[in-house]
Amino acid sequence: MAESQLRSANQVSGTRARRSSRREFGARAPLERLVSVGSPIVLLIAWEIAARLHWIDVRILPAPTVVVATIIDLFRNADLAGDTWATIERFLMGMAVGTIPGVFVGLTMGLFRWVGIVLNPIFALFYNVPRIALFPLVLILVGLNDTSNILMIALGPFFTMLITSMGAVMNVEPIYRDVARNFNARPRHLYLMVTLPAITPALMDGLRLSVGLGLLGTIAVEFLVADNGLGHLIWNSWQVLSLKQSMAGLVVAAVVGWFFYGSLALLERVVMPWQRRTTFV
């Protein structure tokens, strides 16, 4: 009892120590933060000045304020909101269709040696085909519709999560599997209570890569076949040489990307309450 009381006291001082070390970091931070926020702003201002003074050709590179004005204009007078939503929808569908099976297959390949031995060469073969080159084949097999678009988007996240989770499973401390086996854990528990949480930190890294690949896939697919979405806007505007609009689409796509990438830090806190990891986004 005495020991546990002592320990709880230690624990409190422990969290306090951790907090104060964070504060120390915070005390050093203002200048760093100022510079890290300031440097992109300085770049934007320089770009604005260069555009206004016509040092650069504004037909090719319109000023930031012009791009912002175009974005507002497109939201009001065209369907930029609809395009943005179409892109987000495709992206999220593709992520769901890619990451969830990717994690499941990767886990299974890592957990069961023979599944890995059988599937590994097959996936290695497909992984090394440039994915976008598969698009015509997918279009013929699945049809000229959003299903094939989503499948194409899903491929990048699928392989990323598959490779990440398979590798992570193999690096899980064997003692955790021994415990699961010794307690006669059924596959459901082996997957959900033991292996999945054990590899969550690696999965978060895989998700970070997947967000980038998923967005890349979404825009690429929209370039090629879609009749809406940010990719369609960017490509279409470029073809009619309206670089203002193309630029506006690009900026909105970037904001979408930042949003999802940033929300992973939040997700990380939610899915790994046992582990607070410092991440630098």
Partner: protein, 286 residues
């Protein structure tokens, strides 16, 4: 609680007895158990281990490091297959699990709360949440971990984590507990406190325990019997009855004259094995 008969006190007598009739609940009969690892190098870990473990007994196994103690335990735990011999467990068990293992090192799941860790075996067996949390909380209370039910293992000290480890195995309520040096990583003071917790949990439980350790003191403090394993390939060299009274106090016992006599006796047997193990290793080193 079971009364251990005089016949069972001798290993040979116990074995002949158990050949005639099935061993009682929680008894184990190990016959000619062998294990050879076929890797790049053939390693004979176990060679004809014979051992009869009585029901409700606390049996400690000591031996030179790397002698195959853990291999023996892993075979009993169903984590390795033997290459020779047999293990007979008692078959009379209802819905209780046969055995649970308390592992060495950090085997507590870092991603589960203390409560969920302790209830792990029950969760896997499909015991309803309320029921399993009641059982798990009971063990946490016994071990003074009440306030840490919702904490994560990394927030605990090493001693507390090993208590969680013990509680996880006890809460699963197996007939046999297999312990693989569970206290080896703890400092001396904490080790003694956890030893007392372990004795307290076990003394009310009628469970059979096989406890592997490299510490003679620990083996004698805890065990009804201490078996000495030979160096590799291992067999059971000799087993000593430890007739110290129970309930035992880990600290007081160390000053008991009988403790000191038992310690000297077991050390004599172990010493030869440690020396011959060293002698066997030397040539390969130089």
């Amino acid at each position: 609680m079971t009364i251990v008969t005089i016949e069972q006190r001798s290993r040979e007598a116990a074995m002949t007895r158990q050949r005639e009739q099935p061993p009682k609940s929680g008894g184990i009969l190990i016959r000619g158990l062998g294990k050879t690892f076929d890797g790049n190098q053939r390693v004979e870990a176990l060679l004809a281990v014979d051992l009869a473990v009585r029901q409700g007994e606390f049996l400690c196994i000591v031996g030179p490091s790397g002698c195959g103690k853990t291999t023996l335990l892993r075979i009993l735990a169903g984590l390795e297959q033997p290459t020779a011999g047999s293990v007979e467990f008692d078959i009379q068990r209802d819905d209780r699990p046969l055995q649970s293992m308390v592992f060495q090192e950090q085997s507590v799941f870092p991603w589960l709360t203390v409560l969920d860790n302790v209830a792990f075996g029950l969760t896997v067996r499909g015991v309803a949440r309320r029921e399993r949390e009641k059982i798990a909380r009971g063990y946490l209370t016994k071990l003074g971990l009440d306030h840490f039910a919702r904490a994560y293992p990394r927030q605990l000290s090493g001693g507390m984590r090993q208590r969680v480890n013990l509680a996880r195995a006890f809460a699963n309520d197996p007939a046999i507990l297999l312990m693989d040096e569970p206290l080896a990583s703890l400092d001396e003071q904490t080790k003694m406190l956890v030893q007392e917790d372990l004795l307290r949990l076990w003394e009310g439980s009628s469970k059979t325990v096989i406890f592997i350790t490299h510490s003679l003191d620990e083996a004698i403090v805890l065990g009804d019997r201490v078996a000495v394993m030979s160096h590799r390939p291992a067999r059971i060299k000799v087993a000593y009855e430890i007739s110290l009274p129970r309930p035992r106090n880990a600290l007081e016992l160390r000053n008991n004259p009988d403790f000191i006599v038992a310690r000297a006796q077991v050390w004599d047997a172990l010493r030869e094995e440690v020396l011959s193990a060293d002698a066997a290793i030397e040539p390969s080193h130089g």
